[in-house]
Symmetry: C2
């Protein structure tokens, strides 16, 4: 085959680290539709903080300079025409849900259209975005076929209305008009500097044995943790979507315990510490479940299950429960305010942390906003401080009052929502208007005797 | 204090191993209401197969012989008067549920009555049976008080109607008329020869700091894995009941996945194998959830939660789902029979395995019976074979046709329900009436190409 040339579509938390790794070995075209993101990356700045300026600058090249002849480098662009010279396309766009918690495949469809327009016979398109089982072949492949005029080559049985070409296995003969697909789920853990892309074992799959082999070889060349070849694209899709669903369920269970124990006057963290002394107890903690993965992926699985006639009990119970934790926390804080003889209407409340997880700037689908929005419903005045988040982004996404720095000590209550390391050194009680002000610790960060309530 | 003398009430899976270990250091009176069990144990035979004859005979003594002066030995009896000379009472009776899945505290109440009748001032009563948080002090302590005429000594805040004595902390002064309690949950894993009683870290708790210290010291003297002292009896109770609930939820989630993937034509085991390559994926398998712990404990927690005004979503969804797996498996087998042109009415079906888990003779609350009973509803003729189970016990408990040996090859379908090692070497297809007969593998024991369906 011709020399490997990779295009990566979507340069976010998933695409950028992957592009940087591949660019150490192959020519890589990194594509993103956000011009601002492209501009920043070309200057060596990654706003997601996954890649340092040094790492990025080490692989960046400018097509219009003499770098063009580099055998391995990363060219970043928002021009889709530049994708045409690749023979491997890797899709790493987000797969969010809409306001009704239904999968929103728009980015995936748009990326498929973009690729379809430049796709050539023999090319391989690999999806990394989390989807429900079947999405790659049922949703993306038809778009690729439509926009490329080429035919999808697969040896895998198709469940839904296969195109005539899908039944053909004569891919070597037909590859003059065929393209191939694969699915290799991303397993990026934002902010995790230990489990980085090359250190996480990667599942691979392909639409034919030959495509699967090529895809596996490609990833094996950069993933030091190795690969696991799934028997089909659907198995690989299913494997990914259940990982985060499992985490969601486990946290939902612990959240349910927290609400039960709270009613029984038992400290949940003490119980978890005791239970954790058993060799097989799973050490999850109560808390909010947000972000673009754990809080979203179960809805993808649920939709497909419902489509197949099965109404998911556990999966949706977990989602329902976790999605309500913000309201629950707000009601607990309000109870503490009332108990402390504070006037709830107009109460001044500071929320420390807005990102969806600790030590990470990502605010997408953060559920901390639920606390703020619920408290506003109670008439409280909520201010938010988070040294990791970008004020404009918070204002733009959620329309919430965001402090650029901590100033003042006028708060009736403080809610520790995110366990940023930064907050551990903060003298939180100093920010309260009175020494008896309320401190509520969502994440169990502080010693229990320093807080008035915790999840 | 006087010399330690221990009475253990209930000599089942939990009580017997504990009695044997304590009897290596202290005089122990092992009490059980089942005369047959007592007779067997006195002869050195443990029908639960947790303790070997050699181990048991090594500690047994007969009070009426010269053994009476042994400083450490186990005297087994069904005579409750013999308990009077103990100063530590450990309750290890079962805590089942009734047919409406409500906690059945009868054994616990009866044991408390028995102890109450012989309780002396200063004695310590430790409960090991799994209960909901609060059960020890709300349900058992009043019985102990009533039958002993003594008062319960605690420094812990009581949630419900404390007796006047409960408020007193002058236990040293009052101990002439007081007794103490503790809770130290059993963590026995039946059939597990690695995690035996002394090798599993033990949670301890006591009604006063002094009682907690004594109880912890007592267990520390035999538990080589060490102890974890919980801050209160309620925390210890809560820690235990959530351990098995967590396992229940996790298996329910995997069972839900199995049902979804089955509809989507995806092999669940392949998906789990792929997902299992992620460092933090939890490797549970689909299957039936029975036994006297995992299938029961969540109902204890649920009842207490409901009593407190919280309706458990996740916990009960897990129970509902797992309790329905037998029916689901039966319907899958029926579909395979129909697909294979077998007549369902009168179909000859062999079920391999009836115990609640592999390599273990325990049939209590086994859910394999659900498959058999559901298949009978479809008109099929079901036979059961299990080399671990006792035929009389199966007949007595469930009224099912039980084979003492495998004879014949007249089966239309065979269901592998329990993964006993014994079944792994069996040539299962030889038992079928035709080479195309149905084999359904509940536990994923056999290679997929040797079975017609699996969970």
């Amino acid at each position: 085959m011709s020399q490997i040339s990779i295009a990566i579509i979507g340069l976010g938390y998933v695409g950028l680290p992957l592009a940087v790794e591949f660019a150490k070995k192959y020519p890589v075209i990194g594509f993103d539709i956000k011009q601002e993101r492209v501009n920043q990356l070309r200057k060596g700045y990654d706003a997601t903080l996954e890649i340092t300026g040094q790492e990025l600058n080490g692989v960046l090249c400018d097509r219009h300079s003499s770098d063009i002849d580099k055998p391995a480098a990363l060219f970043i662009t928002s021009d889709s025409d530049a994708l045409a010279e690749a023979n491997y396309y890797i899709v790493t766009v987000p797969t969010p849900t809409d306001k009704n918690n239904r999968p929103d495949l728009t980015p995936l469809i748009k990326a498929s259209e973009t690729i379809g327009k430049v796709l050539k016979p023999g090319d391989i398109v690999i999806y990394e975005s989390t989807v429900y089982p079947g999405a790659t072949e049922e949703e993306c492949v038809p778009i690729l076929e439509k926009f490329s005029g080429l035919k999808y080559c697969t040896t895998q049985p198709q469940t839904q209305a296969p195109s005539p070409s899908a039944l053909s296995t004569q891919h070597s003969v037909l590859s003059s008009q065929h393209f191939f697909c694969g699915y290799s789920p991303e397993r990026i853990n934002p902010g995790d500097k230990e489990h980085t892309v090359t250190r996480i074992k990667k599942i691979t799959s392909g639409s034919t044995p030959e495509a699967a082999e090529k895809i596996d070889t490609l990833y094996r060349s950069i993933i030091t943790a190795g690969t696991h070849r799934a028997s089909s694209i659907k198995v690989a899709e299913a494997a990914k979507v259940i990982e985060n669903s499992q985490r969601d369920i486990n946290i939902a269970f612990i959240n349910e315990l927290a609400m039960i124990f709270n009613r029984l006057g038992i400290d949940t963290h003490e119980v978890l510490e005791a239970a954790g002394t058993k060799w097989n107890f799973l050490q999850f903690k109560p808390g909010l479940v947000g972000g673009h993965c754990i809080g979203v992926d179960p809805y993808y699985l649920a939709q497909k299950a419902q489509e197949s006639g099965y109404h998911p009990e556990i999966i949706l119970a977990g989602r329902r429960l976790n999605d309500n934790m913000g309201k629950y926390i707000a009601s607990e804080v309000v109870k503490l305010l009332i108990k402390g003889d504070y006037k709830v209407k107009g109460a001044s409340i500071l929320m420390l942390g807005i990102t969806f997880k600790e030590n990470c700037p990502d605010i997408r689908n953060t559920r901390a906003v639920d606390i703020a929005q619920e408290l506003k419903q109670y008439g409280a005045a909520v201010e938010i401080y988070d040294p990791w988040a970008t004020p404009e982004e918070v204002m733009h996404e959620y329309g919430l009052e965001f402090l650029s720095s901590l100033n003042g000590n006028h708060y009736d209550a403080i809610i520790l929502t995110v366990a940023h390391d930064h907050f551990k050194t903060l003298d939180i009680r100093k920010l309260l208007s009175t020494p008896t002000g309320i401190v509520y610790d969502v994440k169990g960060m502080l010693p229990p005797d320093q807080v008035d309530g915790r999840l």
